[in-house]
């Protein structure tokens, strides 16, 4: 319990730093925010109108005061309005989040069912044909940028074989397939190697020989001991992949017109819609940190040694 509280307290400065950075970045970028906003409406503006608009947005106050005001609003769930649509940023963001979560969950699921069996098979067949074969594909998957994979899948599965719709109008299993496969290919390529390394490491331990000597079936050792011991590594990997996944969804979502926060962010960047970009950066960082926290805590449940070390 003490550990949990300590970890939560450590989060406070990080959260402050994240909000401050997102605020500062957008202030630097948005020094011409007011002009931009007025230009978006397509009218000619005078100096006086500009200053009035700046005062209205509180842009004439000192930087730290502006941050304070912004942070107070933020804590009340008010992230301002989009420059382009005029809608509430927080609502827009929450509205798009489920689609991204759906995509993320499906691609993590695919990654797990691809990388764990392949990693284990490669480890058992170390330095045999199957091992080289699996590692070869992992290498290929690692060397392809996800936008290239997206376009290849689109060309082969969408255009040539017509298996899946090319553009997703709504979130369903058939529309999520291609974006999720794209994300899963890159992640599985990376993680099956690490699953392989972990399993190999585990297989070289003495208790495996012990179990063999006692006549325990290899499959039983593999499933009950080796897999359990490898679980910590696998969970760490999945947690680490959240970070690259969150960034990766931006590109993949905008290619497949998947209506999630990634596409929202890319569209916002192209239209210089700073409040949306700000919300995106901040929420992604917060989600990332929360996932890391949960991972840290879950180690302690899975591996009693970690609990003992802290005493």
């Amino acid at each position: 319990m003490k550990f949990v509280i300590k970890r939560l307290l450590q989060l406070i400065p990080i959260l402050f730093a994240i909000t401050f950075l997102s605020f500062a970045m957008m202030r630097i970028a948005g020094s011409d925010v007011v002009e931009q906003k007025m230009l978006n409406t397509g009218q000619v503006v005078s100096e006086a109108q500009l200053n009035a608009a700046k005062a209205q947005l509180g842009l004439d106050k000192p930087f730290l005061v502006q941050y304070g005001i912004w942070l107070t609003k933020l804590l009340h769930g008010d992230m301002g309005e989009s420059y382009v649509s005029g809608k509430n940023v927080f609502d827009t963001f929450i509205e798009k989040l489920p689609a991204t979560l759906f995509l993320t969950v499906v691609s993590i699921f695919l990654t797990v069912i691809i990388s764990i069996p392949l990693g284990v098979v490669a480890a058992i067949n170390q330095n045999k044909f199957l091992d080289y074969f699996i590692r070869f594909f992992s290498f290929l998957g690692n060397s392809m940028p996800n936008f290239f994979v997206s376009l290849l899948l689109m060309y082969v599965l969408g255009i040539k074989l017509k298996l899946f719709p090319i553009i997703s109008k709504d979130a369903s299993l058939s529309t999520v397939a291609m974006p999720a496969i794209t994300l899963a290919i890159a992640m599985s390529a990376k993680y099956l190697r690490q699953v392989r390394a972990t399993v190999l490491d585990e297989l070289s331990k003495d208790y495996i020989i012990g179990a063999k000597a006692r006549g325990v079936r290899f499959s039983a050792t593999l499933w009950f001991s080796v897999m359990r011991a490898s679980l910590v590594t696998i969970i760490t990997l999945l947690a680490l992949s959240i970070g690259s996944l969150l960034g990766g969804t931006a590109i993949v979502e905008s290619i497949f017109m998947w209506d999630g926060v990634g596409k929202l962010a890319v569209d916002a960047i192209n239209m210089r819609d700073y409040p949306i970009i700000q919300a995106y950066v901040m929420w992604m960082a917060i989600i990332y940190i929360s996932v890391n926290l949960v991972t840290d805590l879950s180690y302690r449940l899975l591996d009693p040694r970690i609990r003992l070390e802290e005493r």
Binding site: L21, P145, Y155, I159, G247, I251, A285
Partner: protein, 275 residues
């Protein structure tokens, strides 16, 4: 057996270095190698299929794809190498200083690098690139801002492990200045892990840089760059696939070559990791 494996690795290093050098040289001498002017438009030739005169076909403006792919290697390969060079240099310097002096600088720099690592990489790069606006230089900067901590971590922990060794202490006792010790004794001795990290980073960075360009945050048209060429051509994927596939295959091949080189150098420098 051991010597045999070692010889094998050496041969692989030579082969992959030659391949990587060929890529770099073709990027440097791109303007001499292009069979056509990569920026010369000829609408009569728009979307010609790959054939004898245009081996990769032509794009929407009738520009020769092969020449554009060669020209694009400049933006893609040379900027990636510059990016990795910058972050490896700055990261190493910061990490070494932190590890060597410790104290306040160490705490401050390490908290900053924690913060950089707290942001999911590409998300942060997107934001920075969005602030700076398009342009290949800005994309390089955006990735540099978030990627240096990787190197400072490696450099810091390696510095810590050799700081207490006899030869460093001897240098201190004989009156060597800190700058001298850092550059003469510490950096040469931690170069191995840094080199491995950098070599393995080239492929990833190349893909991220191309990704930013793909989103319109890197190289701006009409500059030939692989990511933006793919992005511009993607609506024509169905009818004129070569417009997308040629730059895609170019990225793929370059990343493969640099990854192979990186893997081999890692095997050579750090034999523990060979499996």
């Amino acid at each position: 057996m051991g010597r045999n494996v070692n010889r094998n690795i050496k041969i692989r290093i030579i082969v992959f270095t030659i391949l990587a050098l060929m890529l770099v040289l073709s990027a440097i001498f791109a303007d001499k190698l292009c069979p056509f002017d990569p920026y010369q438009q000829d609408l009569n030739l728009a979307y010609s299929a790959p054939g004898l005169s245009h081996i990769m076909g032509t794009d929407a403006y009738g520009r020769d794809m092969f020449s554009r792919v060669i020209m694009g290697s400049r933006a893609s390969i040379l900027s990636t190498l510059a990016l990795v060079g910058i972050i490896a240099g700055i990261g190493t310097l910061i990490g070494t200083i932190c590890g060597y002096f410790g104290g306040l600088i160490d705490s401050i720099m390490m908290r900053i690098s924690d913060l950089c690592l707290a942001f999911p990489g590409l998300v942060f790069a997107l934001a920075v690139a969005a602030i700076l606006g398009g342009g290949i230089l800005n994309a390089v900067l955006a990735l540099a801002v978030i990627s240096w901590p990787k190197y400072s971590r490696v450099a810091r922990s390696s510095t810590l492990s050799i700081k207490g060794t006899d030869f460093v202490q001897a240098a201190q006792v004989t009156g060597g200045s800190s700058v001298y010790i850092i550059f003469k004794h510490i950096i040469p001795n931690i170069a191995g892990p840094i080199l491995v990290t950098a070599m393995l980073d080239i492929g990833t960075m190349m893909m991220e840089l191309a990704g930013l360009s793909f989103l319109g945050l890197g190289a701006q048209p009409p500059i030939a760059e692989w990511g933006s060429m793919m992005s511009n051509g993607r609506s024509m994927l169905q009818t004129y696939p070569w417009v997308v596939l040629s730059p895609g295959i170019a990225i793929f091949i370059s990343v493969v070559v640099f990854n192979l080189l990186g893997d081999t150098i890692r095997d050579y420098i750090d034999p523990k990791m060979v499996d």
